[in-house]
Each structure stands twice: as structure tokens, then as C-alpha cells.
């Protein structure tokens, strides 16, 4: 199938790629733009590993085609740190040991970054619901919740578990 030219901005930088219409946005980011921080897990929208931001909103990049991003403003995990400084959320993940293998981390950061921009003082239970669209098979979520709570300025319940 004929390739199409797609122009978009990714992490603030203008990009142009030439891709087949059937190529998933996640694969365009990874293979055509070299942004391998976005991970591909289930490829049907369930696991959340490929979550990025499209015009500021968290979306699954495995459920969009690259051609659909024409003219869009995308953000991936590579864009979270500014001038070599981790974002507050990334810092908190490091501080609270909120990752183990790290496969899910990019998607979780992009989901939470977007959610907490709209809900900066979210409660623990709201944060747990916000996290429910991202699967993590290592941590049991407990330290992820702690890291998110620390940024929101609430303390996670001690006894609660993932």
C-alpha cells in the first residue's frame, strides 16, 4: 500500500515521516522516529504500555494509526524531562521505587502526567482509578500509588495493597 507523508510535532519538535496507513502510531514512534521509550504490550488497548499524549490527552498509541497524527501535537515519555531534569512525577517514581522491570512505566507516567495536570490534588482513591488503565505485573502497584500520592500531596494508606 502506498506510503503517506505525515507531519506532526513530537515533544515540541516538528517531524515528518512517510508511512503505510496500516502502521500503528506506536510503531511509527518507535521505528520511524526512534522513540523507543513508548512500549508496545498487548496491541489492543488493554495494557496501557503504549500510552502517549495526543494534544495533551492520554491515549493508546496502539489504537491509532500513524497517518491519523497528521498535524497533531504528541508527547512521549522522552519529552517529560526538561533540560536534563526529571519531572516531579519521574523523580517521585525514582524516590519511591515505583518500577521494577520498567516495561509499563512509560505508559503509567504519560497517563498520570496527563491526569494530574487536570487533577493536581487527586485523592488516593482517584489516583487508583486513574491508574486502573495501566497494567504492571511486577510491583503490585503499591509503590506506584505512593509515588503518585507524594506528588499530589496526599499520603498513601499504609495497609492498603494493590
Amino acid at each position: 500500500m502506498e506510503k503517506k507523508t505525515v507531519r506532526m510535532r513530537v515533544n515540541g519538535k516538528p517531524c515528518e515521516v512517510s508511512v503505510e496507513p496500516r502502521k500503528l502510531l506506536a510503531d511509527v514512534l518507535r521505528e520511524d522516529l526512534g522513540l523507543t521509550g513508548t512500549h508496545v504490550g498487548c496491541e489492543h488497548g488493554v495494557c496501557g504500555a503504549c500510552t502517549i499524549q495526543l494534544d495533551g490527552e492520554a491515549v493508546r498509541s496502539c489504537l491509532m494509526f500513524g497517518v491519523q497524527a497528521e498535524g497533531a501535537e504528541l508527547a512521549t515519555v522522552e519529552g517529560l524531562a526538561q533540560e536534563g531534569q526529571l519531572s516531579a512525577l519521574q523523580d517521585s517514581f525514582s524516590e519511591h521505587h515505583a518500577l521494577q522491570c520498567g516495561f509499563c512505566t512509560a505508559g503509567i507516567l504519560m497517563s498520570l502526567d496527563s491526569y494530574m495536570r487536570e487533577h493536581p490534588r487527586a485523592s488516593e482513591s482517584e489516583l487508583r482509578v486513574a491508574l486502573s488503565g495501566n497494567l504492571c505485573r511486577c510491583t503490585g502497584y503499591r509503590n506506584i500509588v505512593r509515588a503518585a500520592c507524594a506528588v499530589a500531596g496526599v499520603s498513601a494508606k499504609k495497609e492498603s495493597d494493590g
Binding site: M1, R22, K23, G48, A58, Q68
Partner: protein, 295 residues
């Protein structure tokens, strides 16, 4: 897996979409939010020759007041409905169901028209729209027609849409005065498809008897299932605890849901009865405390 190859078009107007559908018919598939279609493409459960991306079509994503109710463009994102003050104020059944649809990342892309056209038998919006008496506006090059949800949903992933038609608008009438509603579902995890769900709306008359009842189940049949017998039993009743319990039993009577790895048919039937009883009680409580006239 990755999707099979397809041709791709991204028209800007409804007329262009209808022209493409008139020409290609069954070969073409409309791509709305893609949250159900793209997984099917990725699994190669579908291999359309032509994908018509309607995300750039103008004039089909507005939420507008219409005769006391709402007119919702088919491409309105579920997330936009969730954030809509008009929905929060006057359509409590819809507002209660929206957060139960998958996760916020999915609702950011998923559309109301996409969900209705996909017609998943366990989805929330088909049941809610049926319970609210919404009308669906379908357009083709040939004509525009308006159908009820009872006419629209035909079976498993099957609707009344012809190959050259597009769902363009959903018209939701206002709740009658003295109405209360509730949406309840059971799912294995937050955001999963419902094993069983129920949308209920009760309307009281001036003497607090039941003037109208709407009970629609999801997840128990190939399409949203209106519990007509239970609805009829409630109308005119005083809505006593026994009345509600009896209606819930009628709603679950003769159900023939599927057994699968997630739940048995018996479990689903029992859950349908229990959820209907709880939803009726919640809806009645809300109807009794609601304002006398709709907003």
C-alpha cells in the same frame, strides 16, 4: 499482530463520507475513535479494503441543547460527554454510566456514535441510550432517517445501519419530571466490560405511583435487552419493596445469557436480578427527591 493493508481516506465533511460509502459500500469501514475497531484490525478479525477515518469530519461532535433534551454529534468523545455540564446537570443516567466505560485514556478517543454503531452486547451506551429513549439519526446519499434504539440494535455487533449509511447524531429527550435513574454493573475489574449491567429510569405521577418505567439490561443477550414485562408490571404500582422485587424477578425471568470463562449463565441471571432490584431502589429514591420539573 498488525493490521492487514488497507486504503485510507480522511474526508472533512459528512457529504464526502457518504459519497465514499455510496461508492464502496461493504468494502469500506468507518473509523471513529477506533477503540473497538482497531483491536479487531490488529487481530485481523476484520480486513476492510478501505478505512474511512471520520475523525476530521466537521460538524459531528457538538453537544447541543434541543427541545429540552440534547443533540449529540456521533463523533463526540465519551470523555467530552463526561466533562459536559449539560450532561451532568440533566442526564444523570448517562453521567453515571460514562465513568464505567473502560478507562479515561479510552474515553479520550472513544465516541458515542462509535460505541453505538459497534453494538457490543456488553457495552454501556447502547443500554443507556435505549433506556433514555434516544433517537438515532442515520444519513446516506439516499435519505436521512431517524430510528429508535429498539429498532437500531439488531443482534451481536449488528445494527440497522445500511452499508451506505452513517450515524450522524443522537437525540436524547429530556427526563420527564419526577424521574430518577440508576446505572449499575458488575465487572471483574474496574474498566472491564460488564458481565451484566442495567440502566433504569422510573417516573412518578403526582400521587407518587409509577407513571413510567424503563429497564434495559446489557451483557445478557446479543443486544441491549428491554425488560418489557417488568416495566409493565411497575407502571401504575405504588413501587413498594415487593413491587420492586417482583419487577427484578420478572426482568431476570427467561434470560438466556451466555456462559463463558468469565461467568456462568446462572451467575449472570442472578446478577441481573440483583442489580435490577438495587437499581430500581436507587432510581426510586432519586425520583422521590428530584425537583418537580426537569432542569
Amino acid at each position: 499482530m498488525k493490521p492487514a493493508a488497507f486504503a485510507y481516506e480522511a474526508p472533512r465533511t459528512v457529504d464526502e463520507v457518504l459519497g465514499i460509502l455510496a461508492e464502496h459500500g461493504d468494502e469500506a469501514k468507518l473509523l471513529a475513535g477506533g477503540q473497538s475497531l482497531v483491536p479487531m484490525l490488529n487481530f485481523r478479525l476484520m480486513r476492510p479494503a478501505l478505512l474511512v477515518d471520520i475523525n476530521r469530519v466537521q460538524g459531528v461532535s457538538a453537544i447541543e441543547p434541543q427541545g429540552g433534551g440534547l443533540s449529540v454529534g456521533a463523533m463526540t468523545r465519551q470523555g467530552a460527554l463526561e466533562r459536559s455540564s449539560a450532561v451532568a446537570r440533566a442526564f444523570p443516567l448517562l453521567a453515571e454510566a460514562l465513568p464505567l466505560i473502560a478507562h479515561f485514556q479510552i474515553r479520550n478517543r472513544g465516541t458515542i456514535g462509535g460505541s453505538l454503531s459497534h453494538a457490543d452486547p456488553a457495552a454501556e451506551l447502547p443500554a443507556v441510550m435505549t433506556a433514555l429513549g434516544a433517537q438515532l439519526v442515520l444519513r446516506s446519499r439516499r435519505a436521512e432517517r431517524t430510528v429508535t434504539c429498539d429498532q437500531f440494535f439488531k443482534g451481536y455487533l449488528e445494527t440497522d445501519l445500511a452499508a451506505d449509511e452513517m450515524l450522524v447524531r443522537i437525540q436524547i429527550p429530556p427526563d420527564p419530571a419526577r424521574s430518577g435513574s440508576a446505572f449499575l454493573e458488575v465487572s471483574q475489574r474496574h474498566g472491564d466490560f460488564a458481565l451484566v449491567g442495567v440502566a433504569v429510569r422510573l417516573t412518578l405521577d403526582a400521587k407518587s405511583a409509577c407513571a413510567a418505567a424503563s429497564i434495559v439490561l446489557t451483557g445478557v443477550d446479543t443486544r441491549p435487552l428491554r425488560a418489557s414485562e417488568a416495566e409493565r408490571a411497575l407502571v401504575g404500582s405504588r413501587l413498594s419493596e415487593d413491587d420492586l422485587r417482583g419487577a427484578a424477578a420478572l426482568a431476570a425471568k427467561n434470560l438466556a445469557p451466555q456462559s463463558d470463562m468469565h461467568a456462568s449463565a446462572d451467575y449472570r441471571t442472578d446478577a441481573a436480578r440483583a442489580l435490577t432490584a438495587r437499581a430500581l431502589a436507587a432510581a426510586l429514591g432519586r425520583a422521590r427527591t428530584t425537583r418537580q420539573e426537569p432542569a
